[in-house]
Amino acid sequence: MADHTVHSNTLPPNPEKATLEGKNKFLGFWFFLGGETVLFASLFGTYLGLRGGLNGGPGPSDLFHLPLVFIMTMILLTSSLTSVFAIISMKKGNFKGVLGWMLLTVVLGITFLGFEIYEFVEYYHYGLGFTTSAFSSAFYTLVGTHGAHVLFGILWISTLLIRYRKSGLTLTNAPKFYTAVLYWHFIDVVWVFIFSVVYLMGIGG
């Protein structure tokens, strides 16, 4: 593995999959996301089973405010797009571009998280505590687990940004950025499902 120090100007076209380690990480991460899919599917199933259990507390149609959630959705979708730009930069060997786009992704992620915390605080003041009803427990657990994933993603990408701020693109860090972006896309897709199943269905049906 003497080639791990090779610099960006001589990197192969797909630096994230150029080494066996990179390939393993890439494939392993896809499997991990497969498991995460079951994880969220279980949470969605639980939520769908319990969303009618209001116990006299506020329900979806009393709480959800679509404009806010729509803005959150747009922010997260945009952050997915910026992470795509980061990968495009990576393929071009432009490490500055990677850092810049990933930084923007993190900022958007933090904004999203801020909105989510604001949303939860609002609901709490509206009388929806975690223990109020089966619906509230299921709602906070599903959306909260997603929020925890966003938080983890922010910390992860930030760590990468700080660690590699001066290193340039290498065969070691390319897979790291790549998997972080995969992860970010995944939590974005999960949010789209939350938006549809929890919010749209909550207000519509």
Binding site: L50, T131, S136
Partner: protein, 616 residues
């Protein structure tokens, strides 16, 4: 780190930090064997309590704790880790790899399992073990007083995380790390079945993770998923549990099937009959394993439509399983069968497992299941498949691969005594239990009343359990008395067919001095009878890259172990422990992420020296 430096560490530090799949495999085997003995002891205590009607050997509460811990321990802490041990050690050797895909994660998986297992068992000393059965049905579990169930939730969560990591590791290893020529359809069946089992782990364990998360939130933070008065629903837990729990059965049995598919051809001197049918059947079983979870729930009131669908889907699993049985029989047909202890276990498996399999079809008959469900008939059934399948498979694999792993063969004479006592004890214990269930004995009862016709068969069953206990002691003794039977040839059984028998004993740290070139299914057999008896090399001799050891997996797991106490004693105001523990874990993850570790190289001269020593 230089090569010389890597060799100069103390033994303890070496084991704590190792990322070598062989050492991790051995640690899984040792820890799994410990928990197996513990679970066996729990079983014996329960059988003593059930020896006589209305016996007062154990209080009912203790009995409920024992039945919970016996099931949980045997499934999560004994059977799976023992299989993981064999998989860890053998799979890289079978596919011609120097290590697994993620050595670091492999070590993390082990330590998570071990700390989870220890956590679960600490509950014995802190006011009572979990008492709601290994299935932990709510609301019995969500409202169970004390901390027992909290230990259950967190212990399984931590060890389950380890299992999930292990599963992903095997999947990537098998896909990416195969030697040249080792196409998927040339892989040994043990590797194949481990691959499918890992796939099941990947898609089944997250459902358990969520179930446990919900139960923890309910117990520790007052959530109301399962609280009927708050609009909750108690059946959701059963669905989540069995969406995990049923595939879990196949996670256990498929690798065992794989072991038999290695041992039977070896000792019949014959290629596995219907290799592609076997692979196909394994895949079908794995797929159907996800479609049938609700057959554990025929009596919860799902309605006749759901019951019928799940009944028919369940029966369908009998077809690929039957295919496997007949292929094993036809592998034996026309062979020259050697009755080594390893093969005895494989041969005993066939009739024993068929008996467990047919009661499985009977249980799948939904309308009749209303009589069988939650009685000793079910207890008999799943012990027939788990002992008759998984445990016989583990002993079979142990005798078969023991010389490969530990460098000596287990005594055949003691092995045969052990085998017969264990097999007779097993059938004695569980055969009568079918009838106990049918004549009115529910499962999970701390005792039974006199005068209900249940006395004699319960006594017989207990005698069988004693026999199994004695047999296991003989096995443990033979481990120590056999140490003189040193092995010094690679192909210990003379008729080895796969790559693990091509390398010296003890296995070198780097496994293969040169990555072998695979030219057929059963590569060693092919070279023996079509080539010159030696594997062709797929690469010239050169430096070998190895990963560095790391203490971080141990620290990460320890952090979660500490954090668990914070959750368990949240109500007692010890939440700070959770924060400290999580900081330790995330700190270690951060360190791992920031520090680049490129491993080290074993110089080619060292390898040449090894080769000379072996006289090759």
């Amino acid at each position: 780190m230089s090569y010389a430096k890597a060799q100069s560490k103390s033994t303890l530090w070496d084991w704590l930090t190792t990322v070598d799949h062989k050492k991790i495999g051995i640690m899984y085997l040792v820890a799994g064997a410990f928990f197996f003995a513990l679970g066996g002891l729990e079983a014996i205590l329960m059988r003593i309590q059930l020896m006589f009607p209305e016996f007062t050997f154990l209080p009912a509460q203790t009995f409920n704790e024992l039945l919970t811990m016996h099931g949980t321990t045997m499934i999560f802490l004994a059977a799976m880790p023992l299989l993981f041990g064999l998989m860890n050690y053998i799979i890289p050797l079978q596919i011609g790899a120097r290590d697994v895909a993620f050595p670091f994660l492999n070590s993390l998986g082990f330590w998570l399992f071990l700390f989870g297992g220890i956590l679960l068992n600490i509950s014995w000393f802190t006011g009572g073990a979990p008492d709601a059965g290994w299935t932990a049905y709510v609301p019995l579990s969500s409202e169970s007083p004390g901390t027992g169930l909290d230990y259950y939730v967190l212990g399984l969560q931590v060890s389950g995380l380890g299992t999930l990591i292990g599963g992903i590791n095997f999947l990537v290893t098998i896909i990416n790390m195969r030697a040249p020529g080792m196409s998927m359809m040339r892989m040994p069946l043990f590797t194949w079945s481990s691959f499918v089992a890992s796939m099941l782990i990947l898609f089944a364990f997250p459902a358990l993770t969520i179930g446990l998360l919900l139960l923890m939130l309910e117990r520790v933070f007052g959530a109301t998923f399962f609280a009927v008065d708050f609009g909750g629903n108690v059946i959701i837990w059963q669905h989540l549990f069995w969406i995990f729990g049923h595939p879990e059965v196949y996670i256990l049995i498929l690798p065992a099937f794989g072991i038999f598919s290695e041992v039977i051809p070896t000792f019949a001197k014959k290629r596995l009959f219907g290799y592609s049918a076997m692979v196909f059947a394994t895949l079908i079983i794995g797929f159907l394993g996800f479609m049938v979870w609700a057959h554990h729930m025929f009596t919860v009131g799902m309605g006749p439509v759901a019951n019928s669908i799940f009944a028919v889907a369940t029966m369908a699993i009998a077809v690929p399983t039957g295919i496997k049985i007949f292929n094993w029989l036809l592998t034996l047909w026309g062979g020259r069968i050697r009755f080594t202890t390893a093969n005895l276990f494989a041969l005993a498996f066939i009739p024993s497992f068929v008996m467990g399999g047919v009661t499985g079809v009977m249980l799948a008959t939904s309308a009749a299941n209303y009589q069988f469900h939650d009685t000793y008939f079910v207890v008999a059934h799943f012990h027939y498949v788990i002992i008759g399948g998984v445990v016989l498979g583990l002993f079979c694999g142990a005798y078969y691969w023991w010389p490969r792993i530990f460098g000596y063969t287990l005594d055949e004479k003691l092995g045969k005594i052990f085998f017969w006592l264990f097999l007779i004890g097993f059938h004695l214990t569980f055969f009568v239990q079918h009838f106990l269930g049918l004549i009115g004995m529910p499962r999970r009862v701390a005792s039974y009343l006199d005068g209900q016709g249940l006395n004699e068969m319960n006594f017989i069953s207990t005698m069988g359990a004693f026999l199994m206990g004695i047999a296991f002691i003989i096995f443990v003794v033979s481990i120590f008395t056999s140490m003189k039977n040193k092995v010094n040839e690679a192909d210990v059984w003379k008729d080895g067919r796969t790559l693990e028998w091509t390398i010296p004993v003890p296995t070198p740290e780097y496994n293969f001095a040169q990555t072998p070139l695979v030219r057929d299914v059963d590569p060693l057999w092919y070279e023996k009878y079509e080539g010159d008896g030696k594997m062709k090399a797929a690469e010239p001799l050169g430096d070998i890259h190895m990963p560095n050891g790391s203490i971080l997996p141990f620290i990460m797991s320890f952090g979660l172990f500490v954090a668990s106490f914070g959750f368990i004693y949240h109500d007692a105001g010890q939440t700070w422990l959770a924060i400290v523990g999580l900081l330790i874990t995330f700190g270690a993850m951060f360190a791992r992420s920031v520090k680049e570790d490129h491993g080290y190289h074993i110089p080619v001269d060292e390898i040449k020296k090894d080769l000379q020593k072996e006289g090759r």
